[in-house]
């Protein structure tokens, strides 16, 4: 628990639809890391996690669920009280299940989140000087609806589905309100900033690029440096948008010339079975392993047991897997799909190799062969140090302190959450 006798600073409320829970232990780890990074800037940090609970699609049934939920959670005879729990990361979390109806637009879901959060807040609003909403819809919307009039609102946008939100007129209207009210809107990549600035040119001045924190210092560095690129690994959703079919095809080509090559595909998704069948057709089924997704803390076991992360995604707003691989001291072969060319800016040829986004598997094969020739030029220690400087908890906390307007006190009070707690 925090030291209550300390000199009071400001209070921060964070609102997010993603945060690790028992059901979704991997969700929102970036929100968790970023909130933990700034915990030391404040007297108290409360995080409100409005988690989607998908309910019946039928409107009548959905209405029944909504009425029963309201009766249980609000009014004089409410039966369920939401209590905050203290976390190891050094802040308070209130988990708020939010019944949502499938096949609706983001505006409807945003209003569902609003209805769920309203009875939870004492006095019907965030008692915080700064409210940080993660993703414009829903976190930004909730910050806008429940922040005190004098509170500073900061919104971080990192939704890969931003385009879908802005394509729905009602949802876009809500987003426009968020943009009007927010004091600062943070994008996790320049690509996302350009997209948002293009949609809301009148607010360009308040849109900044500030990444989420990544606890790179805590990432275990591989015990032995990579000396050859025989064991490839892909980590992530097994889907066409991630370029996994091209990866399998490319592996089939490269493996013909290099008998030592192996590939592990770590993750789940709709293409697991079709791609497993494809590896058999390519004659490499015995050299490709499909492994189900694992908790984040186990990913490094897999990274350390392989030589090269291949990440051929078509689009990424940030590209966390690439950062994790470089943070663990592993070379990467990654597409210029948005986030990675920023996260690895200046590190092409140092952390690994960037290749073009393409439907042609030969691009991956060519990249692999070039990287194999450039192995001597790789400098994993420098790459890791660069990433810590950009995305480490201290670096991001200092940037957020400026955004929050708690600059000087931030410098004085910054400390890892676990030390303070």
């Amino acid at each position: 628990m925090p030291d209550q006798s300390a000199e009071p600073l400001a209070r921060l409320a964070v609102t997010t639809p993603w945060h690790p829970t028992l059901q979704r232990p991997f969700a929102g780890s970036f929100v968790q890391a970023t909130t933990a990074a700034v915990r030391g800037l404040f007297d108290r940090v409360d995080l409100y996690n409005t988690e989607d609970w998908t309910g019946p699609a039928d409107p009548v049934q959905a209405q029944l669920v909504g009425k029963a939920y309201a009766a249980l959670t609000s009014g004089p005879s409410r039966r369920i009280d939401f209590t905050a729990r203290w976390t190891d990361e050094g802040y308070w979390v209130t988990d708020i299940p939010t019944p949502v109806t499938p096949k609706r637009d983001y505006a409807t879901w945003a209003h569902s989140h609003e209805s769920a959060l309203a009875p939870v807040l004492p006095g019907g609003r965030f008692e915080a000087d700064i409210v940080h909403g993660h993703v414009g819809i829903y976190g930004g919307w909730l910050a806008h609806r429940f922040a005190r009039p004098d509170a500073r609102i900061v919104v971080t946008e990192h939704a890969s589905f931003l385009g879908r939100i802005l394509g729905q007129p009602r949802s876009r209207a809500l987003y426009a309100e968020v943009m009007d009210r927010a004091d600062a809107v943070l994008c996790v990549s320049e690509k996302l900033r350009r997209e948002l600035a293009g949609e809301f040119p009148g607010h360009t001045g308040k849109i900044h690029v500030v990444p989420n924190a990544v606890d790179i210092e805590a990432m275990p560095v591989r015990p032995k440096p990579v000396t050859e690129l025989h064991k490839w690994i892909y980590v992530g959703k097994v889907a066409a948008a991630k370029g996994v079919p091209e990866l399998v095809e490319a592996f089939g080509v490269a493996a013909k010339d290099e008998p030592a090559l192996r590939l592990t595909i770590l993750g789940s998704g709709p293409l697991v079975d079709p791609l497993r069948a494809r590896t058999a057709e390519l004659g490499v089924a015995d050299r490709v392993v499909f492994h189900d997704a694992v908790p984040p803390q186990r990913v490094f076991e897999f990274l350390h047991a392989h030589d090269l992360l291949v990440h051929p995604s078509k689009s990424e707003t940030f590209g966390m897997t690439t950062v994790e691989a470089v943070g663990s001291g592993m070379p990467v072969l990654v597409t210029r799909c948005g986030g990675p060319e920023e996260t690895l800016g200046g590190l092409d040829g140092v952390a690994g190799l960037l290749i073009d986004v393409s439907d042609d598997p030969d691009v991956i094969v060519d990249g692999f062969r070039r990287l194999a020739q450039q192995m001597a030029g790789l400098d994993p220690d420098r790459a890791r140090a660069e990433l810590i400087g950009r995305y480490g908890a201290r670096a991001v906390a200092q940037r957020l302190a400026g955004i929050y307007g708690v600059g000087d006190s931030a410098e004085r009070n910054w400390a890892p959450a676990r030390e303070q707690a």
């Binding site: 993750g267 189900d292 047991a305």
Partner: protein
């Protein structure tokens, strides 16, 4: 003493199984009100959890018997009219079945918490909360009362959380799990 979990679907199976394991490891009896047993066995629910299933009762309900008659007469009438009507009435039917079966079977004097585990279970949870005004009701298990108890080793505890292989990361194909996503999430 016991905790009663209520889950109509398996969308939040990981949380349900995790809560059950936590309680069983601390010597707390666990009951689960669910539609059927098979899907929960597939999800890895510990076999020591007492299951109160609604499927048989639902099938015996007069509305369902009427449905079978309608289907016998005209499959089109069943598909186009009856099934749509039944979808609207199903929450009511499920509550009637719960009331007729589960409410009588459970020793409510021993139940410390009722945990509503998914969205579809909320209406039944509300009915049960109304019938038992003194009962603690929540959407998540309140672990505080059991936090001080030392977990004991359990020979059969298998959970959804443990479904990923504990072996080293070398080639070991594992069954795909629709709930085990989360790597490389940008959103």
């Amino acid at each position: 003493m016991s905790v009663l979990l209520l889950a109509i679907g398996t969308t939040r199976a990981r949380a349900v199984c995790g809560s059950a394991d936590f309680l069983l490891a601390r010597g707390v009896d666990v009951g689960l009100v669910a539609v059927d047993a098979e899907s929960w066995q597939r999800e890895g629910l510990d076999r020591r959890v007492t299951l109160y299933t609604l499927q048989a009762g639902e099938e015996r309900h007069p509305l369902n018997r009427l449905g079978r008659v309608v289907r016998g007469v005209s499959a089109a009438a069943y598909n186009k009219v009856f099934s749509k009507l039944y979808r609207l009435l199903r929450p009511y039917v499920m509550w009637r079945v719960t009331r007729a079966q589960v409410v009588r079977q459970v020793d409510w004097s021993a139940v410390e918490q009722l945990v509503i585990c998914d969205s579809h279970a909320i209406p039944i949870g509300w009915h049960l909360a109304k019938r038992h005004p003194g009962l603690t009701v929540g959407f998540e298990l309140d672990r505080t009362p059991y936090a001080d108890r030392e977990p004991v080793a359990t020979p059969t505890a298998t959970t959804a959380m443990d479904s990923t292989p504990a072996t080293a990361p070398t080639p070991a194909p594992a069954p795909a799990s629709p709930t085990a996503t989360g790597i490389d999430i940008d959103a």
